[in-house]
């Protein structure tokens, strides 16, 4: 599969997210769901989309091992390329992998300040300049609105254009913002340009677009995820 095909076949293309990176303004996105429904799979698809466009991605994984995080990429790439001839697909994979760096932290060892330090090291020494930052496993209860605002500002000043978080919702907590963003992010929803929610529905899994500034789909739309692969099914 050529790179171009892979770009076009990225399931997230349906959302029209490529426009986000092209935007001059930096944006923050959020993927929410109850535990174990596939937030990481969606984040990895977003990361792969950026990588295929040639943008560098820094994937920060909190509380998850390096190998497990890498395995997510391997699995999703394998699914995306499963129908294509292996040689050119492998070449494409080899070409895009330098666009990814994984950073893992323990839950107790992570703080936005620590990540700022690490990113500072990478950018100042000209080692790696990510355009897309994926933060999987951040504890939103630990940080305030102001913390996140400052964090976004720092990242943007260091060249990051797109930041995607994952957040875990809980059945017993039914608080919601006016826009419909559930806890624990209901009080900081104004910081995010896009909020996607994964919700199981009968035998399928829905990906609800709660808000998506600049996306090619309207808020309120639901896309269907294939529950066995967590790839977005084409309409």
């Amino acid at each position: 599969m050529g790179k171009k095909n892979l770009v076009m076949n990225n399931p997230l293309r349906i959302l029209g997210l490529e426009k986000k990176v092209q935007d001059k303004d930096a944006s923050m996105g959020l993927v929410m769901s109850r535990p174990g429904l596939g937030k990481t799979a969606i984040l990895v698809q977003i990361a792969l989309d950026s990588m295929l466009w040639g943008d560098k991605v820094l994937h920060v994984s909190i509380g998850e091992s390096f190998d497990k995080t890498r395995a997510w990429y391997d699995d999703i790439l394998a699914l995306m390329g499963s129908t294509e001839k292996s040689d050119s697909f492998q070449t494409t994979v080899a070409e895009i992998l330098p666009n990814r760096m994984i950073m893992t932290f323990k839950e107790t060892g992570f703080s936005p300040i620590k990540l700022e330090e690490r990113l500072g090291d990478l950018v100042q020494q000209n080692i790696y300049k990510p355009i897309c930052l994926i933060i999987d496993g951040y504890d939103f209860q630990a940080g305030t609105h102001k913390d996140l605002e400052e964090f976004k500002e720092f990242m943007v000043n260091h060249g990051v254009k797109m930041i995607w978080f994952s957040a875990t919702t809980h059945r017993e907590d039914d608080r919601k913002s006016a826009a419909g963003v559930p806890a624990p992010c209901h009080e900081i929803d104004d910081l995010f340009d896009a909020v996607l929610m994964i919700a199981p529905k009968d035998d399928a899994v829905d990906l609800k677009i709660i808000k998506c500034k600049g996306c090619s789909v309207d808020p309120g739309t639901s896309l269907i995820l294939d529950p066995s692969t967590m790839l977005i099914q084409k309409a």
Partner: protein
């Protein structure tokens, strides 16, 4: 020796360098009465540990060659291979794992899961070796076996659960609590040889109960019976727990974790009980052989001593009594005086002497049965050869052997050294398939190549010490490769008329990149334009051309040469003429096929204090390295990167100075990748100028 295979354990002891596995083996030998005094690896008595039999190993305090030994623990025959910890000697670890049924993964309770533990674990997974873990050095400052157990889960993905907890830690380590029997174990006597059972100290009761509950919850997954007893809240028979742990371990779904301190003689014996209780006997594992009469189709070996013999030579050693060949028997049995067949060479071999090895000492035995690991004397073979009784023709599955990545020119200082060097090289290449040697005909230098600087350094040292071969050593060179990137036609006529019989041959066809494999020759000649007898000459000519590429003089790989046209002369065509024509044809096509230079890329793992993460990443970046990821583990960070080998020379010194000596790194070969344009041009320039200057 017993014949009941359920009483046999073939185990390996593998770990990160300096985790204390040689010390652990030393204690095992002591407690099983194989030795009567304990000598430490870097002991003041200057004797050194028993398993480090090579002089060099004792001097450096590291294990280089795995030595095999045998002991008997509570009626179980245990064959132990002590394996090296340094990644350069990985082939030793791999070969040991190939023939072993189970392994003990030794970890340092302070250092935890380090880079080499990851490599070793990966190898154990590759060979499906069930394992138990022993967290050693619990007497050290900063010891934290629970953290290490968590790392076994997080970093290695093992379902690791402690079957013991320590009583005290660091200087206060006095014993362990067995969570299966819920008893405290203490180790009395001068060398901890007397195991005393006692009640659990009151202060640790709650902690032990919590850990036992965790263990039972994990283990109950492997036994319905245990789960039922737990649900009924009845008394649980320790044997029921043990059988569930064994089941999980053999299925590679559970890793029981033992704790202790070999150096302080604490809790080595319960770990040996664990080897007996949880690691497989030869009949618990399925080993596959390749049927050479049936297109190498895999079939399981039977382990039955009554079946025809299948025996694998997995290690050769040149001892003071001649060549020693370590073998593992997979089925059948072999008795002193028997004649066996080498499947590779088809030659008959008489078994003159059979020995059980105890490091560098030996004990003669009359026969060895299925599942056994013993040594043979005076048998001429190479490592990896399979012996059979002749009734069947088979080979044990081939072993994964990595390609050498670094080479070194060695020049003997005098004639005597030259002769001795040849003997040494002949021996080493037989012993170690990752060690290769050849003579560069342009420079007349002998080149040795292997898996890393230390790997080659050790062989140079061994040459001096064991063979009295004094050699001068050149600077290490990276083993570059050349390959082609596109298809190109060739058409070359070799014609020579210098009086007498002439030479004539024309070879035409094309070359193209070969995705898998090093070289392929395709004969597409029709109509006899090149006679049959000269086809192999063309192949030979191409193969000669592959030895040295035109770009930087490195070996050429990944090429398919197809001949589809040619011409011959009734009188002047000969084998030599067609070889030379093929060499000319290769030259003709090679530069048109857009050749490139490939370099070995190493998977580098640097581990050091988090405060130095920036400097470590910077140092990798300066070396054309690609950082794949970083892992922060409290105070320590691991940086994983792919770095060209050519940039890694002298890195240990740089890393030491950057991190106040607090960081360490390991590397192993990952892949060959095309060099960047700038490096490509430099290598070509250097090769041209070297050629010019002779």
């Amino acid at each position: 020796m017993s014949v009941d295979l359920s009483n046999v354990r073939n185990i390996g002891i593998s770990a990160h360098i300096d985790s204390g596995k040689t010390t652990l083996t030393e204690r095992i030998l002591f407690y099983t009465d194989r030795i009567h005094a304990i000598h430490d690896v870097r002991g003041k008595d200057g004797v050194g540990a028993k398993m480090d039999s090579m002089e060099l190993e004792r001097e450096r305090g590291i294990t280089i060659q795995s030595a095999a030994t045998y002991c008997n623990w509570k009626g179980k025959d245990i064959n132990i291979i002590d394996t090296p910890g340094h990644v350069d000697f990985t082939i030793e670890v791999e070969r040991a794992l190939r023939v072993l049924d189970g392994a003990v993964l030794v970890l340092c309770s302070v250092g935890g899961v380090q880079s080499q533990s990851i490599t070793v674990n990966r190898q154990m997974t590759r060979y499906k070796v069930p394992r138990i873990a022993f967290i050693n050095k619990c007497d050290r400052t900063g010891a934290n076996p629970e953290r290490v157990t968590a790392q076994l889960r997080e970093k290695l993905g093992l379902n690791a659960h402690m079957v013991q907890v320590p009583i005290g830690l660091e200087n206060d380590l006095v014993g362990v609590i067995d969570l299966v029997t819920m008893k405290a174990l203490y180790f009395d006597g001068d060398n901890g040889e007397v195991v005393r059972e006692d009640v659990i100290p009151a202060a640790l009761q709650d902690h032990a109960q919590t850990k036992r509950d965790e263990l039972l919850e994990a283990v109950s997954m492997f036994s319905d019976e245990l789960m039922e007893v737990m649900l009924e809240e009845g008394d649980i028979d320790p044997d029921l727990i043990k059988s569930a742990i064994r089941k999980g371990t053999l299925a590679l779904e559970l890793t029981p974790v033992f704790v202790g301190s070999a150096y302080k003689n604490k809790a080595v014996q319960p770990m040996l009980d664990g080897v007996d209780a949880y690691l497989p006997c030869p009949t618990d594992v399925v080993n596959m052989a390749l049927d050479l009469n049936n297109e190498e189709k895999e079939f399981p070996v039977s382990n039955d001593p009554a079946d025809p013999l299948i025996m694998l030579a997995f290690k050769l050693e040149d001892g003071r009594y001649g060549q020693l060949t370590y073998v593992r028997t997979y089925q059948g049995k072999v008795t002193k005086g028997d004649t066996v067949f080498n499947s590779r060479t088809g030659k008959k071999v008489k078994i003159g002497r059979l020995c059980r090895m105890h490091s560098d000492e030996m004990e003669d035995i009359e026969f060895c049965g299925s599942g056994d690991i013993v040594a043979l004397f005076g048998v001429d073979c190479a490592s990896g050869d399979t012996f059979t009784s002749g009734e069947i023709s088979c080979s044990m599955s081939s072993m994964h052997i990595p390609e050498p990545v670094i080479s070194l020119a060695i020049i003997p200082v005098d004639n005597k050294a030259q002769i001795n060097m040849s003997k040494a090289l002949n021996r080493f290449t037989k012993e170690d398939p990752t060690f290769k040697t050849f003579v560069d005909h342009e420079t007349s230098e002998t080149i040795i190549s292997g898996m890393g600087e230390l790997h080659l350094e050790v062989y140079v040292e061994r040459m001096k010490r064991e063979y009295n071969a004094e050699v001068t050593v050149g600077a290490p060179q990276v083993a570059y490769r050349e390959t082609i990137t596109s298809r190109a036609e060739f058409n070359y006529t070799h014609k020579k008329q210098t009086g007498g019989s002439g030479q004539f041959g024309r070879v035409a066809g094309y070359m193209e990149p070969l995705e898998e494999g090093e070289y392929e020759f395709v004969d597409a000649i029709v109509g006899g334009v090149i006679p049959r007898e000269f086809i192999s000459s063309c192949d030979k000519g191409f193969q000669k051309s592959l030895v040295k590429g035109a770009l930087c003089g490195s070996a050429v790989t990944g090429v398919r040469c197809v001949i589809n046209d040619g011409a011959y002369h009734n009188v002047d065509s000969s084998d030599v003429a067609f070889q030379l024509a093929a060499i000319g044809a290769f030259k003709d096509g090679y530069m048109k096929a857009k050749p490139v230079i490939m370099e070995p890329i190493m998977k580098v793992s640097v581990e050091g204090p988090t405060e130095f993460q920036g400097s470590i990443m910077g140092s990798i970046n300066q070396r054309r390295g690609m950082i794949i990821g970083t892992m922060e583990e409290g105070q320590y960070t691991v940086v994983e990167a792919d770095v060209p080998l050519s940039e890694m020379f002298g890195y240990s010194t740089i890393l030491r100075s950057l991190t106040q000596g607090k960081a360490e790194f390991t590397m192993e070969f990952s892949a060959f990748k095309q060099v960047p344009k700038l490096v490509n041009d430099e290598l070509i320039k250097k090769y041209q100028s070297d050629k010019k200057n002779g």
